[in-house]
């Protein structure tokens, strides 16, 4: 059994951090929508959703972008302090980065700051412009980030090659068929068809269409590769005492989290069909006191179908080797037993770089706040498992979120 790490806050305690608001712009190709423009709009949306005004925010955590090295190196987290008019009153603004799992680590950072008293109202902010960036430039950038240049760049590896190797190993280890793998993309598309903010909101997808699309990186077909998109989302976390003062009666709290950094480059991962998920799950469930059987929804990183199937198995949602067949049976579909990636995920809502995981987290918070549009709101949604992973699936990060009554 794993060593027990307690959170230093409990449900209902004055310092217990709670999620109180979310914001999101449409995902897709929006070349006219500027970087700072989108950050500003989505920040205001989340602050309003939290029932706050910008001056209430004392800390901004920025999630990185991948579309531009210049935007990445710029101190945009402080620019946003100015854009929101909170210069002077804002105590702290900075960037957190762990690739696709950044949002999970941003939550841990905010949670620690709030619990310890360093922050009261934290705004976590993200914008990506992948959909409008030059595709070849992005492919080359993704052959250099998360890959050791001196050792692996000479092989010509890039992101689809990494996804393809994991997919092949997973199919080999589990005996999953190409149809099983494609069914994962179809489940995600059904959810995207219920999300007006999704890149593929109005476009249905079938197993036949996927398997007849061109081969990009064997065994991945074109429709199994993540669509690069523009997107922006944000959320606000405060402490329970402050939320009560503001008359908020229902919010979302972190019951526990667990993580495992299993490698930096994929070639050093001992088992590509397992990754860090089993250890991350053991640590998360140990901290939260509830288990995989207690979840009402799952929001698990899905830049490739196999990545999500592997995560499901590691988290204990289904037996080992059954992840893809779990999807093929319709278990995660709208109306299914355990809804998964209810915004359509990265594969169908759009891959917004580091923001893909943020969008899944925001959707989980939104579902637990019971603020999703009626057609995709999961009834009586109380508990969510959020799963994120960054780089070459270098880490597995799990957040266990639960709806909480504040009794305000």
């Amino acid at each position: 059994m794993t060593e027990h790490w307690s959170l230093h806050s409990t449900a209902g305690a004055a310092n217990d951090p709670v999620f109180v608001g979310v914001g999101e712009l449409k995902t897709g190709k929006f070349p006219e929508r500027g970087f700072v423009e989108a950050l500003t709009r989505v920040a205001i949306q989340a602050i309003k959703d939290a029932g706050m005004v910008p001056r209430d925010i004392d800390t901004i955590l920025l999630i990185p972008n991948l579309h531009s090295a210049a935007d990445q190196a710029d101190l945009v987290f402080s620019r946003m302090v100015e854009e929101l008019g909170i210069h002077g009153s804002c105590k702290s603004s900075f960037m957190v980065h762990s690739g696709g799992s950044t949002s999970d680590n941003a939550v841990r950072t905010a949670h620690g700051l709030i619990t310890a008293g360093h922050a009261k109202n934290v705004l976590v902010l993200q914008c990506e412009r992948w959909g409008s960036a030059d595709l070849n430039e992005m492919i080359t950038m993704l052959s250099k980030n998360g890959i050791p240049g001196e050792w692996e760049l000479p092989t010509g590896i890039q992101f689809n090659a990494i996804g393809a190797m994991i997919t092949r190993r997973y199919m080999y280890a589990s005996g999953s068929t190409p149809e099983d793998m494609a069914s994962i993309c179809v489940t995600l598309r059904k959810w995207a068809n219920l999300n007006e903010n999704a890149m593929f909101y109005e476009k249905p997808l079938t197993i036949e269409k996927i398997l007849s699309s061109r081969m990009v990186a064997d065994p991945l077909h074109a429709y199994e590769c993540p669509p690069m998109a523009d997107g922006a989302c944000a959320f606000v976390i405060t402490n329970t005492e402050n939320a009560r003062k503001r008359g908020i009666s229902n919010a979302v709290r972190l019951a526990g989290s667990g993580g495992c950094v299993s490698h930096y480059c994929l070639s050093q991962e001992p088992d590509q069909a397992v990754l860090g998920w089993p250890l991350a799950a053991e640590r998360a469930f140990n901290q939260s006191g509830w288990g995989p059987q207690d979840a009402d929804i799952l929001e698990i990183y899905d830049s490739y179908a196999a990545v999500t199937a592997i995560a499901l198995e590691g988290i204990g949602i289904c037996p080992k080797g059954e992840g893809a067949r779990w999807f093929a049976a319709g278990t995660g579909d709208p109306g299914g037993k355990l809804p998964i990636n209810t915004n359509g995920g990265l594969l169908s809502a759009g891959h917004t770089g580091v923001g893909g995981g943020t969008a899944l987290l925001v959707e989980g918070i939104r579902q637990l706040l019971h603020r999703a549009p009626a057609k995709r709101q999961v009834e009586n949604c109380q508990r969510a498992i959020i799963g994120g992973t960054g780089g070459s699936y270098m880490d597995a990060q799990i957040l266990l979120l639960e709806r909480t009554q504040l009794g305000a």
């Binding site: 760049l153 092989t155 010509g156 061109r214 990186a217």
Partner: protein
């Protein structure tokens, strides 16, 4: 840019068709990729051992489009992850069997080191002959 010695030594090995595995002179353990200090015992007294070049193919893919800049003319090409019998693993290129054909490869196949991939600073492997 200065090329670190561990990189130039490894590449010099490849250039003479030797696959070198960094080996710690203090604790005797192999390290891949080569490190600046031994991750097992933190010693900086590190040397090289010539690999027997035998291993198993953990996974692989064939990239057919979307090559990074400078790799456009290589398409299609196969990248694999090989677990060497010495207990370390690395990313390699896989040699086709016939023209642009990698269909005979499967996960967990026994594979062997062939040499350096032309102008590229990486190792090439093929299915074992035995």
């Amino acid at each position: 840019m200065n090329i670190p010695k561990i990189v130039s030594d490894f590449r010099a090995g490849l250039a003479s068709d030797e696959l070198l595995v960094q080996t710690c002179n203090a604790c005797g353990k192999p390290n891949m990729w080569p490190r600046y200090a031994c991750p097992h015992c933190q010693s900086e007294n590190l040397g090289w051992t010539r690999s027997a070049g035998q291993g198993s193919l953990h996974s692989f893919c064939v990239l057919r489009q979307g090559a990074p800049e400078g790799f456009e003319d290589d398409i299609p090409y196969a990248i694999g992850v090989v677990k060497l019998d010495e207990g370390v693993q690395l990313a390699v290129r896989l040699q086709p069997e016939g023209t642009e054909d990698w269909s005979a490869y499967q996960c967990d196949d026994r594979v062997e080191f062939v040499g350096k991939d032309g102008a590229r600073e990486c190792a090439v492997f093929r299915k074992s002959s035995d």
